[in-house]
Symmetry: C2
């Protein structure tokens, strides 16, 4: 060991000890006759002192030339500090240096290695190894490691077996786009990287493994929206001989355990909400329930009162913004502009101020009486001092727009406290969703989700009305996991592929192995997958998953540090039997 102690552990109990420390120079203060060095490692910072009375001349001179981020090894004695720093675990002591060695010099880093850095996103990604030296980034990675180990130990204690499934699998065009890997040994053929180990975990259940988990990388070749990564990490789980309730109980238990173990937060029974209810009350299947502002449908109240804009709408829906009756015209106009932005796409926003005296002032006073507005207030549960905001239009679109507004207002009002945790289950998802563009059904969850047994007959007559025992785990407005009871019957699976527009041949080519497996005693099973990146970010009180990934990629899927992807040698392409398409 090049050190006897780390930079975070020495205190008054060690005074008088001879120690050797190694680390990075965080900063130096040089008064000529005395030099202080803050020495940093993963564990903390320890102050080193050189002075002309107690340090030999040569050492003192060497210390004059120490630059930021130099790596040094110092030997010295722990002494008590004159002016203590109570905010640092090592703040009561310092090390009187006797000798030191420069283990490696450093050029001046391109940005400051401080909690708040002057480096922009791109620069920090290019020098990610320097970014990781900063406390917040390092602590995020350590936090992730802790969460991940706690998950493993929790699931293992409940008899889940960690099974590694393959990364080189087969491309299945259903769902998102696959990353593919050309096979050299099988010319013209390709592996695909898994979008999830879905079929493998189901086959493990067919194989009698009973309870499986894996923390595993998954891959999707999608155009990257903000805060998506082409490779991401999934906590993947599956259980046999279970019903939906068993899965919810176990993974509710996992999240309760993590919140307690990692955050010291006690949460108990999670609320349940059907998909239909979530859409109706929050316009969103991953509602943030840390705050209210639930939707009130005002269609019946607002139609037929002579306001032509509303009269023609399918849905009229409002929320009560707490304490916002004092908003100025300018503030309200800003909200109207906000919903009219192309990203939201609303036509406008009706407002009603609930005055303290019980009267109402609205942008539609011409059409609605005080009694009408009173009824709106009752419906939205608005109190005196609140501001009611109302939108109208096509059902789904309007809900989505008002949901975005609700989140924006919560953000503005500071209602999204990252240290409050409000998990819930959203259940009873539709099995299928109709896609207008391709004029066919898509699987809402995935093609392996089972219809609710009692609705099985509807599959033939009205498939769009069939629900699934599918569920999402939602935390603070984010879907952190989703799962379902799976199909375990070959005939049902065939029907499902048929509904999704697969020909028999396509289904056979892509999933023949699964349908065959179902003929050899496949047990009832179900499971869930949680997004580790997102879960860790939310538990860490942050929203950006990139901050919890050691080496993330940018929005073009590029690793700026190693500069990947990159061109490969012609011989490599040739061995893979591939030719680049001439650029047109």
């Amino acid at each position: 060991m090049l050190r006897t102690n780390n930079c975070g552990e020495l205190n008054l109990a060690h005074v008088g000890n001879k120690v050797t420390l190694a680390g990075w120079v965080q900063k130096t203060r040089n008064k000529g006759f005395m030099i202080w060095v803050d020495l940093r490692d993963r564990y903390g910072i320890t102050q080193i002192i050189f002075d002309e009375e107690r340090t030999d001349k040569e050492t003192l001179e060497m210390a004059q030339n120490l630059g930021r981020e130099f790596v040094i090894q110092i030997e010295g004695t722990v002494i008590e500090r004159e002016s203590k720093n109570p905010n640092m675990p090592t703040g009561a002591i310092e090390i009187l240096a006797e000798s030191f060695k420069i283990l490696n010099a450093s050029k001046t880093p391109p940005f400051t290695i401080e909690n708040e850095t002057d480096g922009g996103e791109e620069l920090r990604m290019q020098y990610r190894y320097l970014d990781i030296r900063r406390n917040p980034v390092r602590e995020n990675l350590i936090f992730r490691s802790k969460v991940s180990l706690a998950i493993r130990n929790y699931l293992s204690s409940y008899n889940f077996i960690d099974v590694e499934t393959p990364y080189l699998i087969k491309s299945t065009p259903e769902g998102a786009r696959d990353f593919v890997v050309p096979s050299r040994m099988n010319a013209g053929e390709f592996y695909a990287l898994p979008q999830s180990p879905q079929t493998f975990k189901q086959l493990l259940m067919v194989g009698g493994m009973d309870q499986y988990f894996q923390i595993v990388k998954c891959f999707r070749d999608e155009d990257l929206r903000a805060d998506r990564q082409p490779e991401f990490t999934q906590i993947d789980c599956e259980m046999t001989f279970v019903e939906q309730e068993d899965i919810l109980a176990r993974f509710e238990g996992l999240l309760i355990h993590l919140l307690k173990e990692i955050k010291g937060v006690e949460v108990s029974d999670f609320p349940r909400m059907t998909y239909a209810e979530a859409m109706q009350k929050y316009g969103n299947d991953k509602p943030d329930i840390r705050f209210g502002m639930e939707f009130a449908e005002l269609t019946d109240l607002a139609k037929g009162k002579g306001f032509p804009v509303f009269d023609q709408q399918e849905l009229i829906v409002g929320i009560a913004v707490p304490g916002a009756a004092t908003y100025t015209r300018k503030q309200i106009d800003a909200l109207i502009d906000w919903v009219k932005r192309p990203q939201i796409g609303a036509n406008g926003l009706i407002w009603v101020k609930c005055n303290e005296d019980g009267s109402f002032k609205s942008s539609v006073d011409k059409f609605y009486s005080q009694e009408d507005l009173q009824a709106w207030a009752a419906s939205t549960q608005a109190s005196a001092g609140d501001l009611i905001l109302v939108m109208g239009g096509e059902v789904n679109k309007t809900r989505t727009q008002l949901s975005a507004l609700r989140m924006e207002l919560a953000e503005q009002l500071g209602l999204r406290d990252p240290e409050v945790f409000a998990p819930l289950w959203v259940v009873d998802f539709p099995l299928l969703e109709w896609d207008e563009e391709s004029k066919r059904f898509h699987a809402m969850h995935h093609p392996f989700t089972a219809p609710k047994p009692e609705q099985m007959k509807l599959l033939a007559t009205d498939p769009g009305a069939v629900n699934a025992n599918a569920y999402d785990l939602v935390l603070n407005g984010n879907e952190i996991g989703g799962g379902s009871i799976r199909i375990h019957d070959a005939a049902v699976q065939e029907t499902m592929f048929d509904l999704l527009g697969f020909t028999k041949e396509e289904a056979q080519a892509q999933f023949g192995f699964l349908m065959e497996a179902f003929q050899y005693g496949a047990p009832p099973h179900g499971g869930i997958a949680l997004g580790l990146d997102r879960l860790v970010a939310i538990l860490g009180g942050q929203e950006t998953i990139r901050d919890f990934i050691a080496f993330p990629k940018n929005n073009s899927g590029r690793d700026l540090m190693i500069n990947a992807p990159a061109s490969i040698a012609a011989t490599q392409l040739d061995e893979l039997n591939l030719v680049l398409k001439p650029t047109s």
Copy 2:
């Protein structure tokens, strides 16, 4: 839950309980008036009984038609068995069935789901989900999960942080062949799948993470020798501010912990052997030291005695095979044929029987006196009753051949007891090895391994003589891990790339980011990587890693179950800007 209990936990304490079990029909015995069903799940087997006195008629009739591997759910009462089976944890009870439900039927499986199956390798791989139902395969996977969790908890307890490094990285032609992944968003460019996270873990050390581990999939596109997989799992570790000794101590500790925790075997201080010593004594850098038969160099003793075959050899080397003096001419001829096979390629084998009366009988009696042979015996430490086998030829070739013979003999003599564990460290590996074919040096370990500091000067004058602080962890004749102290100085790294034949431009293009990182305060660091597949197999008392991988690939890199790799859609290729090379 579709069950109240699993099939492995009921015993006399539960007699009288009403239970519900679910599982697979292992077998049925039908006496008409009485039917026994062995019901199996991951946890064990429980006997179910239906009889005409106590079971209703309809249920009994249904039970008549149960086939192997049907999945059923049964309700019944735990009763004491008349004839108990002491070899089964549930052998004292059975379940008197009241009702049951077929959860899924099964076609007759293509091979028997028994400890010893009639299914061939290929069939079992095609129906791997059925193979996994067999106890030995399932137990191997559970064992792997246990080992893996024990490793994580051990390393975490010593402050190692589990950091996930990326899978989509950059191709670096040095070393084995990469699997590559075409990038759709960056036309004409490719990612590569990591052969190991080597550079990333070093960058984590540069980033101050101090101690890192990861259990991670790695990929090599090699022509598959027996028992190699294109994707394999590595326990990847790195430490900062350490010397070789610190790393050996920590990972010796890990293996001691695993052997104790998982196998109940106590092992202490591992022997150390230099690479040179291992080659000289065992002809092999991963010697199996569970048994003796150490090499004795007989060159000086055997040359110049008029035996022309030996007189012209560079090395003459022998081993004493314990108790083999009784071998018949036929047995010895078989050994001679064995070493002459093209896989070994030896020209022949000289033998000397050490008779019980102290005399010697050899195949070269014409050239060597009893005193000569006595000296050979002394050198090989042969006792009366042993058989000395001697080979001669070019040093490296002869050592390799005799090493193969030594292992074969140990196998024949039953000296490779899978329940004996003999770990050791092989240290002081050469930094470089000369490749005759390409007329240049290759890195013996990898290009990031540091020369021994005291030999740094030799790099310029005699690079082939330089050793490294590189080490292998060897267990029962298998290298289960290897590592080194790394280069952390940009200039040394440049020299190394230069020695390995990289041009400055190549080094910059491939590893520029690493050499740049070394200029910003890179600390001294080193690490190790262990092969999890191999480690688990050896701890499990077996030699084949495939048996410890849930879904392995065959020697053509093919997954026979899902039939991957496969062709992909023309649109996929097109989006990736690729064209298949016309087959010639």
